[in-house]
């Protein structure tokens, strides 16, 4: 277990360093930072001074090492466009994105597992067929269309919910939350539904398929032959076996929800990281872009690590490799 955790951790670090290298390369290929920072009127001397000060005359491995060192401390330089530290910008935007992503992940996983189990148990029922058909729509409709559709129905026609923004937020230290005010909560509903809908249908279909597979297993048959109640078999024996592969997919999905909430954030003008990134791309704001890249990589590495560790709680076969019984 310990060795396993160390190995996963090492892999994660390797991934991060690789991504950091790509992020670092962006500075060299996407424009000249000196020109970007000083503008066109600067003298040659100013440029040389700045180049020296930024350490751009050093060989690239040293520059990369410096970049890594700064990145490890959460320093990604200064935004070209806004003239503020990138770390501050991210810190400012992070709560909005995380709140949105975590809520939609909870919505998607919770409801997804519930509906998936229901559809697997009542495979031929009318409700199951309705769920399955609806889920097909969810899988095939693009996110922005769902978002715009929801805005049209609930914000434009019914006027129940706001169509954009976070509403009023409450500051808790550096964190800001919309969960403590009514307008904040109302503003969350549509973006959460939009962002979570695709994941919901995906997880639901996955749970259903896995569960049907598990229900065919010998140990389920044996459990039936032992007279165990149907509900116990479905919700104890089958569900737990179903969840092992589901955790992997759901984990990766959570990662992508946090990392790529861009579309939803754009549709709802959500002041999160996705919106920050879209603006950065428009202005070739390399420090912000590279920081965002690192952030996405970090999210995936952390999620993957968590998933790996979760396996140990779900699957005893991974836990005790050395205690296997000998003998006949």
């Amino acid at each position: 277990m310990f060795a396993f955790a160390i190995r996963s951790l090492a892999q994660g670090v390797l991934v991060l360093v690789t991504v950091a290298f790509i992020a670092f390369s962006m500075f060299r290929f996407v424009g000249d930072p000196v020109v970007n920072m000083l503008g066109q009127e600067a003298t040659q001397q100013d440029r040389q001074e700045l180049t020296e000060r930024l350490g751009l005359n050093d060989p690239w491995p040293i520059q990369f090492a410096r970049f890594l060192g700064n990145a490890a401390q959460g320093e990604f330089g200064v935004s070209y466009r806004q003239g503020r530290k990138v770390s501050d910008l991210i810190k400012e935007r992070l709560p909005a994105t995380l709140e949105l992503a975590v809520l939609s992940a909870i919505f998607a996983t919770g409801l997804g597992v519930l509906l998936g189990v229901y559809a697997a148990i009542n495979r031929t029922g009318f409700v199951s067929n309705v769920i399955m058909t609806t889920s097909l729509i969810g899988v095939s409709l693009p996110t922005f269309l769902i978002g715009i559709g929801l805005i049209y129905i609930f914000a434009v026609e019914l006027r129940w919910l706001p169509s954009f923004g976070r509403g009023d937020v409450v500051r808790l230290g550096w964190w800001s939350t919309g969960l403590l005010t009514e307008s904040g909560r109302k503003s969350l509903i549509l973006p959460v539904l939009t962002l979570g809908f695709f994941q919901l249908t995906l997880i639901m279909r996955l749970v259903r398929a896995e569960m049907l597979e598990v229900m065919r297993a010998d140990f389920i048959r044996f459990a039936r032959a032992r007279g165990i109640a149907d509900r116990t078999i479905e919700l104890r024996h089958a569900l737990r076996n179903t969840l092992i592969p589901v955790v992997t997919i759901a984990g990766l999905q959570l990662g992508s929800v946090i990392a790529f909430a861009i579309v939803t954030e754009t549709v709802f003008q959500w002041p999160g990281l996705g919106a920050l990134f879209v603006n950065a791309v428009q202005f070739a704001d390399v420090p912000v872009m590279s920081a965002y890249l690192m952030f996405v990589a970090a999210v995936f590495v952390i999620v993957n690590l968590t998933v790996d560790l979760l396996y140990f709680f779900l699957d005893p076969r991974l836990r005790s490799g050395r205690r296997v019984a000998k003998g006949h």
Binding site: D218, R226, G227, K326
Partner: protein, 336 residues
């Protein structure tokens, strides 16, 4: 119907059981007029080729037939109670409690994510009015009884921490957990090493004997049958073609198929020679010939065999489904 005096007060009594699969291309009859009794403490062996309907008979008795299969006739009685028509919940109370089941592959019979002790205790708790502590104590006692070494520590182990033979012991403990009247063992040793097979069979036999539990032992291993069973039923294409005391069926089989099967048993110590072989293969369910299903492979078939299915009639100590013997029966009857 059954030979000997065993049928006085049967634990299980199957009468004219038929089972069909309704498919798009018509109805397939997988079991046809199956009848047999199992007495208290008796071991009934059921043999036959793959697809003869052995496992299906066992599955039908505990009501675990998957769709599109369905019972199309006959009755199943367990200690005087009819159990083929008592519905899902009624059957659930019988499964595990009064009929225990052992499947072929111990590697896949246990839920990999639950400790073996918990799986046994779960079965006990399902069927018996005991506390969790008592259920665990019972699980421990069962594990000890089936010969798991150091059961106090193994009770909290997971299935993957056991070898195949040990897992089958756990499966036996599970089947016996609620003290059933009958155990249906469906090829309990097929997936195991030869060296372990004998141990498992001996264990099963001993446990059932001490409890007076009846056993329906489904296998295609004639050696196991000869050693273990009191009576044996030979199945072919969904019918019982011969049933009787094991010694008689093995030494003096009456049905040509049974004769062929017994001829195919290699004898240890005997001079090595070619074993008898039954030519051809068992017909598929959708191509069972009219009359006796064995006729196309039978070397002694007569004209009547192609026309009508022979009834199961007593022939000496056993009962067989063959026209040759009907002639004998009639002849001896007219003599006497």
């Amino acid at each position: 119907m059954a030979a000997g005096g065993m049928s006085m007060d049967p634990v299980l009594s199957v009468r004219n059981l038929s089972l069909e699969f309704v498919t798009r291309r018509g109805v397939l009859r997988a079991l046809n007029e199956i009848s047999f009794d199992i007495a208290r403490g008796e071991v009934l062996g059921v043999v036959g080729e793959s697809g003869a309907g052995k496992s299906l008979t066992g599955t039908a008795i505990i009501g675990l037939i998957d769709k599109p299969g369905r019972l199309s006739g006959g009755e199943i009685w367990l200690k005087g109670q009819r159990i083929d028509n008592i519905g899902h919940d009624g059957l659930r109370k019988i499964r595990g409690r009064r009929i225990g089941m052992i499947f072929q592959d111990p590697l896949t019979s246990l839920n990999p994510l639950f400790r073996v002790g918990d799986q046994i205790a779960e079965t006990v708790l399902t069927h018996m009015p005991v506390s969790k502590t008592e259920a665990r104590a019972r699980a421990l006692a069962l594990l000890t009884e089936v010969g798991i070494p150091a059961p106090e520590s193994r009770i909290d182990a997971y299935p993957h921490e056991f070898s195949g033979g040990m897992r089958q012991r756990v499966v036996i403990a599970l089947a016996l957990a609620a003290e059933p009247d009958l155990i249906i063992a469906d090829e309990p040793t097929t997936a195991l090493d030869v060296s372990v097979q004998a141990q498992i069979i001996t264990l099963l036999k001993r446990l059932c004997r001490t409890r007076g539990t009846s056993v329906m032992l489904i296998t295609h291993d004639m050696g196991v049958i000869a050693e273990t069973a009191d009576r044996v039923a030979v199945m072919y294409a969904g019918r019982i073609v011969e049933i009787g005391p094991v010694a008689d069926v093995i030494r003096h089989p009456k049905h040509p198929y049974a004769t062929g099967l017994m001829g195919a048993i290699p004898a240890l110590g005997a001079k090595v020679q070619r074993l008898t072989q039954i030519t051809g293969a068992m017909p598929r369910l959708n191509a069972i010939p009219a009359g006796c299903a064995f006729r196309p492979r039978c070397t002694v078939a007569i004209g009547k065999c192609a026309e009508t299915v022979p009834p199961l009639v007593p022939v000496g100590a056993t009962s067989a489904r063959c026209w040759l013997h009907e002639a004998q029966v009639e002849r001896s009857a007219s003599h006497g």
